[in-house]
């Protein structure tokens, strides 16, 4: 270790000589000053490690010099030891007030002198170590925050924001929330409606963020491809089971909003209850957790049971992680469910703003409020077409292919083939931009073939809510009893060139067909036709029934 360098400031020559001799004999390099001003000058020039300072000196006394030296020391710890024969307490106290660290009284004793200098030297080393570690911690923290911001950017690039920017969605979420374990996702479904997902991973930091990636990818990817919420959740659960360590999981609430049917379907596994709110009235439906969190049950054991409830255009949906009810105030303890529900009932017109304000008031801490995640979705304006953020270019070269699918009895009963059929079409750039149109056409055609062609259901009964239920119970029953030879054949033909393209879809069912001539002639309205003809006509360039009416062929074409 380098020797401690010592500055002696004393106006008395004999004092200086004695101290200097003692210190030099003990091996310390020594700088000399004859008064306070000189002490400061020498200090600036040599930055000694310890300062021995006489209290009473001409020009500038030791008290003032001590103050200035402490300021000049800045972040470093430079011990100041007052040399004194003063025995009155007020003067000694003043030495400490101005920043002195100790006294040395005359006559000097070489053992005490050495002991003090060694003690201060050790203290200085310790202080230096603490400073260095503090700086390192600061540097690590800065680096971590920077990395988190970068990781967040990458995360945002991978997982687009879905329809979170839709102005019917209000949310409170820390920009670095994925590192707190919170994740909020919302995406519009290709056939209208919306999936919303609010999740809370156990743990913090990188492990939580890493888990958020596949969740987001699966959620957006599968929703975009038209998979049902059950399938999305099942896939997320399976993936999390594989990647999360034992004891880690993701509490989540997922809601599938069907605006056109005034209905919301909810799955809540481990998050606090969500709420469906009627402005002016208060809580209409509470959506409590009924399941284990995602990533706990193996895919065999995971049962995705959904609760359906009504959600019309006046309804609001509020979802929150436990950060809200677990917000803490020094005075009042935890925020709590009771306080939350009271607020919703009293401020049902402006739940989101009121909750933000009340949390801020409650915790008195802006930082804490920032880290709390909650989202409100308004039924009224929620359905807006999401701009599909699509960074990939898709295939943009001539294509010419035909794919044939044939679905037999078991598939007809248990399998929704639409996402499968749509997937290869989404490789085509032009179709990707018309995802919703393609999806709607395919869905109409397939459901016509199944419901009317094979199951012979009569859509007229769907006219009211009661009939709707009857329709679906009939459908379930008839699906069980389909005869063995039943099948639906889907043929997709794609021809695309650089500047134009066409898509031909033909669907043939094994049913008896129907009298399409009369329907086409009679111009029956959409609600009665049961086969969505006007809709198909609007979406396709050509539509043609064949055979006994069990075969229908549509054509969509486009110019790039």
């Amino acid at each position: 270790m380098e020797s401690v360098r010592i500055l002696i400031a004393d106006d008395s020559k004999t004092d200086r000589l004695i101290l200097q001799t003692l210190l030099k004999k003990q091996g310390y390099p020594v700088y000399i000053a004859c008064d306070g001003q000189e002490a400061i000058d020498v200090f600036k020039k040599h930055r000694p490690d310890i300062v021995l300072l006489d209290a009473i000196m001409p020009t500038m006394d030791g008290f003032e010099a001590a103050q200035q030296i402490k300021v000049l020391s800045g972040d470093s710890f430079i011990p100041i030891i007052f040399l004194t024969s003063l025995s009155d307490a007020p003067s000694l106290a003043r030495c400490l007030e101005v920043g002195g660290d100790d006294f040395l009284t005359k006559p000097y004793n070489k053992i005490i002198l050495k002991a003090k200098i060694d003690a201060f030297s050790r203290m200085q080393d310790l202080y230096q170590t603490v400073q260095t570690q503090r700086d390192q911690i600061q540097a690590y923290t800065d680096e971590m925050i920077m990395e988190q911001h970068q990781a967040r950017k990458i995360f945002d690039n991978i997982a687009h924001r879905g329809c979170l920017d839709n102005n019917s969605i209000l949310y409170n979420l820390s920009p670095l929330s994925i590192f707190n374990g919170d994740i909020l996702l919302a995406a519009e479904k290709p056939m209208g409606g919306m999936h919303v997902f609010l999740g809370d991973f156990t743990g913090h930091g990188l492990p939580a963020a890493v888990g958020a990636m596949p969740v987001s990818e699966i959620f957006y990817g599968m929703t975009l491809k038209g998979f049902a919420m059950e399938e999305v959740l099942r896939e997320i659960n399976t993936r999390l089971c594989h990647i999360l360590p034992v004891g880690s999981f993701c509490c989540a609430i997922c809601v599938d909003i069907e605006f056109s049917e005034n209905r919301a379907r909810v799955w809540n596994g481990g998050l606090p209850s969500g709420y469906i709110i009627k402005p002016g009235k208060g809580i209409e439906t509470t959506l409590p957790s009924k399941h284990l969190p995602l990533g706990v049950l193996s895919s065999q054991k995971f049962k995705c049971e959904i609760t359906a409830c009504s959600f019309d255009q006046d309804s609001h949906l509020l979802l929150a992680t436990d950060g809200v009810i677990e917000s803490e105030s020094e005075k009042s303890g935890l925020f709590g469910t009771e306080r939350l529900e009271k607020l919703i009932n009293e401020k049902s017109d402006s739940v989101f703003k009121s909750l933000q304000l009340e949390l801020l008031e409650f915790t008195g801490n802006e930082q804490q409020t920032d880290d709390v995640s909650f989202v409100e979705i308004l039924g009224q304006t929620a359905e807006k077409k999401e701009e599909v953020v699509d960074n990939s270019q898709g295939v943009r070269r001539p294509l010419d292919w035909v794919i044939d699918y044939c679905f037999h009895v078991d598939s007809l009963r248990h399998f929704d083939p639409l996402p499968l059929i749509v997937q290869p079409l989404m490789e085509v750039r032009a179709l990707r931009r018309q995802r919703s149109r393609v999806f709607t056409v395919l869905s109409e055609l397939y459901n016509n073939a199944l419901d009317h062609g094979i199951l012979k259901l009569d859509s007229v009964i769907k006219g009211n809510a009661e009939g709707f239920a009857k329709y679906y119970s009939q459908k379930t029953q008839r699906l069980e009893n389909i005869s063995d030879g039943a099948e639906i054949r889907v043929t997709i033909q794609l021809r695309s060139q650089l500047d134009k393209g066409e898509l031909i879809i033909q669907i043939e069912d094994s049913g008896e067909g129907f009298n399409y001539q009369s329907i086409l002639k009679e111009k029956i309205s959409a609600s009665l036709s049961g086969r969505g003809l006007p809709l198909l006509k609007a979406l396709c360039d050509e539509i043609e029934f064949k055979g006994s009416g069990n075969k229908v062929k549509v054509k969509m074409s486009w110019l790039e």
Partner: protein
């Protein structure tokens, strides 16, 4: 009048630097005594106090207790602005200093 035990300890401590210390002390005393005389004549109590303080300090360093004592009395009174007994103290200090200087010389330290 002089604490020889402590002084010889200091001598051991200082080793070869001891003569320089004694010489410095004697020289410093000359300067301080002359200054005290000058500022007494000017009736400048603050300056008298300052120099008496220094004289006291260096005398204490070399365990010359008599000079340290007289210096302290003069310093204390001068701090109060009282120079009434200044001349008397100065004479006493000069007298003691003459003895100390000749003693040190006789010991071969000068």
């Amino acid at each position: 009048m002089i604490d020889y035990d402590s002084l010889s300890e200091l001598q051991e401590l200082m080793e070869e630097a001891f003569p320089e210390l004694v010489a410095t002390y004697i020289e410093d005393c000359h300067i301080r005594i002359n200054s005290i005389e000058k500022y007494l004549a000017l009736n400048d109590a603050a300056s008298v106090c300052e120099h008496a303080h220094s004289l006291k300090g260096s005398s204490a360093n070399l365990f010359v207790l008599c000079l340290a004592g007289s210096g302290k009395k003069l310093e204390d009174e001068a701090r109060e602005g009282n120079l009434e007994n200044g001349k008397e103290y100065l004479e006493n200090i000069k007298h003691l200093f003459a003895i100390v200087e000749s003693t040190f010389r006789s010991k071969g330290w000068l």
